[in-house]
Symmetry: C2
Subunit: 472 residues, 2 copies
């Protein structure tokens, strides 16, 4: 019974496909109403006569009519038969679909983006699919039934326990599982903290001179001001905190300033912690790429110095992949309950199987192996970047290279815009330092932020050549 065809009323055709007769008839009637072929008020043939036309059982048609009455498409009134309901009017034709927004962080100015050296994304081609699948399989097999339920808003205890162990070992973070809250990315965590701080009466959260605007936007949306701390060749001037009135927290990338790349020097680390202790404020430590340090051991997290005043944020977005939407916060005692409540009130948690898979990935050592392998690979790229720039543009200084997935290439004063235009012309997506400058900070630097982790291996050499081609 492939395509029956029924005619009734004037020239009405109903296409019936497949074997599920009643469902097919209902679909066809809905579509006829939707498209306007069956107008509001039109009286339908009796179920008996339509059944005869279609070679169906009468009950099938009568049931279909009854369902559509229940759904509101048709009306049935004693003596007036079954009619198309008034409100099921046809809809005007739709405009063509709007184009998808660009995915990722891309804002390339040219249509043909060939090379991508934008920072913020690891090499997605290196996602350890086989190892991750292995962890996922084991996690799904071993999961208790309750893991598939709503669960604790802080996240799965298995993952919080594995993270507490890992963070202590790899980042010097003093974490207890009950102080850890799993979230769907740094931005989710920052939103929760912003909400909690605002509810506590905090007016301002200080930020660094350079950083992601998205973070400022989020804090401002929570009703917080975002004064920017000064910046010099030694990094963020945290000593300025003591002079900021009404500032209840500071957002820092202490281990590897984003995007300029330095580690906060010891005296300035000390100044942040001193300020937090003296003022009762909090340090929001965004440890986005803490695992990737090339020349010596990673600089331990600030959090270890004072777990009661530092909120530590970590993420799998740089070490594994942003697409997993897995991140974590380690909270001071004071805030742990409030943040868990803020998250729990709206029950956003990450997928439980993913959390269990990540716990297994950590416990089995697969995470350490992956990070080590990626560290070697990114370090090799960094060395190639430094060598290529030295060869093609000896004047250009490469900085921020001790760690992370990006480097900063300093350009001659005023040269940033022209260089970015030349890059776009060559199909090279790369960002300028000034894109990360907070609005109130005067422009003093020109340069490129080069995300050398971004391209897959196959695209790396080409991207590097394109980059060298636009340097002075």
């Amino acid at each position: 019974m492939a395509n029956d065809r029924a005619t009734f009323g004037s020239d009405l055709h109903l296409e019936l496909r497949g074997t599920r007769l009643r469902a097919g008839l209902m679909d066809a009637l809905r579509e006829a109403v939707r498209s306007g072929r069956l107008e509001a008020g039109t009286r339908l043939p009796s179920s008996r006569s339509l059944a005869a036309d279609l070679g169906m059982a009468r009950n099938t048609v009568a049931d279909a009519y009854a369902e559509l009455v229940a759904e509101g498409w048709l009306t049935a009134r004693q003596g007036s038969g079954t009619r198309v309901a008034r409100r099921a009017a046809p809809r005007p034709p739709e405009p063509p679909a709007p184009p998808s927004p660009p995915s990722g962080t891309g804002r390339g100015r040219t249509a043909a983006l060939v090379h991508n050296l934008q920072s913020g994304t690891p090499d997605l081609a290196s996602f350890p699919r086989a190892d991750w699948l292995k962890a996922y399989r084991r996690a799904l097999t071993d999961a208790p039934n309750e893991a598939f339920g709503y669960g604790d808003p802080r996240g799965r205890p298995e993952l919080r326990t594995a993270l507490a162990e890992y963070l202590a070992r790899a980042r010097g973070v003093h974490a207890r599982p009950e102080r850890i809250v799993i979230c769907a990315g740094f931005v989710h965590g920052l939103t929760l903290i912003g909400e909690v701080l605002r509810a506590r009466g905090v007016r301002d959260v200080a930020v660094e001179s350079y950083g992601l605007w998205l973070h400022d936007d989020l804090l401002r949306r929570a009703g917080l001001g975002t004064p920017a701390l000064g910046f010099d060749e030694r990094g963020t001037r945290t000593e300025e905190l003591a002079g900021l009135d009404g500032c209840g927290a500071v957002l820092m990338t202490a281990a590897h300033q984003y995007p300029l790349g330095g580690a906060l020097p010891p005296d300035r680390r000390a100044a942040v912690v001193d300020w937090a202790r003296a003022s009762g404020g909090f340090v929001l430590e965004d440890d986005y790429d803490g695992e990737f340090r090339y020349d010596r051991q990673p600089v331990g997290a600030l959090q270890g110095l004072d777990p009661d005043r530092v909120v530590y944020f970590g993420t799998a977005s740089k070490s594994l992949a942003p697409g997993l939407r897995l991140a974590w916060m380690v909270l001071p005692r004071e805030l742990a309950r409030e943040v868990a409540a803020a998250k729990g009130a709206v029950d956003w948690s990450s997928s439980a199987p993913d959390q269990l898979a990540f716990a297994e990935f950590l416990r089995s050592g697969a995470y350490d192996r992956h990070v080590r392998a990626m560290r070697l690979r990114y370090r090799r790229r960094r060395d190639q970047l430094v060598a290529a720039v030295a060869a093609h543009s000896p004047e250009t200084r490469v900085s921020g290279i001790a760690a992370g997935l990006h480097a900063v290439l300093t350009l001659p004063p005023g040269a940033e815009q022209a260089t970015l235009r030349a890059a776009a012309w060559r199909g090279l997506a790369v960002q300028g330092v000034n894109r990360f400058r907070r609005p109130a900070v005067p422009p003093t630097l020109d340069g490129l932020v080069v995300g050398y982790a971004t391209p897959p291996d196959s695209g790396w050499q080409g991207a590097l050549r394109a980059l060298c081609g636009v340097l002075p």
Copy 2:
């Protein structure tokens, strides 16, 4: 090299474990500072002498000191040696960990919860682990590299396409992939809509007389009022909408009222759509268990009647498992862009591998098979519930049984609280109807909401017996 022991200063012992000497030394020093065994200002032995004590290379100790200076634990000053930093003060001992909040929707009053008939959760033991894993494996294998990146805030296109097809077929929803937004649960979606409606100047969102308080809370938190529509034996009095001034939307469970269980009758479905068209308002259709209808085909979604005025919400929380945190919205043309922007501004998306796995699960027919199997199983339980209640308590009316994962047992006036106490005494977790009553609605009903899908098969008969034991 299992446990070396070093003594210096007065009686200070550093435990060194494992083979990573420098890291182990750093951990031990941090721990000694944290615990107060090394006091602020204490001068450490020279790297040479500590190295000799520990049998380490001097460089290892010097490097560890340098790292800890960089991290702020120690200070090094010319002529003064290496000292414990002032700010790395010991932390007071912590109070014992607070107990975990109860997981799921449980608010049982007894410590020993033996039987769980609370509504809102499917049988978690029936999660189709093997089929889901198969879909996950295929999805992870086939995923393009870009799927591991940040992605479109609306969600993966593969999943939105698969859902558009499924929702049209199974629920009569008129969906185009670009109007679908994936979210992490109904509550996430409702939060986004609340934010968008508020930003559009909407003052109130009407709700039904009975429902989840969490949903009211969310809307109120967005700054919206939540007037409740009246309720009678035919369901929610949607005709009252026309008399509500300043009401910009209405939240409805049209296919299966939660928790009372009826389907909204045709004239009242019509009244909702009429109101939305006349007033320019929106219907927020919470189709939480639309797949589970037992006595005839599911009642199609209201959305099909007017996709330009209805926001459709669906979820995998009842059909698969809440732990996946997968839900979806189908948006009217007017709202699609604003909701995608609200979601994108904070980049909360569900895990990309999960979304791809769910798309594969839908496409392969595994979802249909699972829903069919669960429908049979839940229907059997429903029939057993009805039979058991009829046998033990013939006066008790069972309603709301044509669909869904729960039923309502009507109790004699005033008997609800006593019955709940008797249930708690027997270790039976079950909810009263009045727990779902909006504050402004006068109490007129007494009854139990029985989530018959909740227990695993092994617990079902016992739960049923416990329930019958507390009925009049």
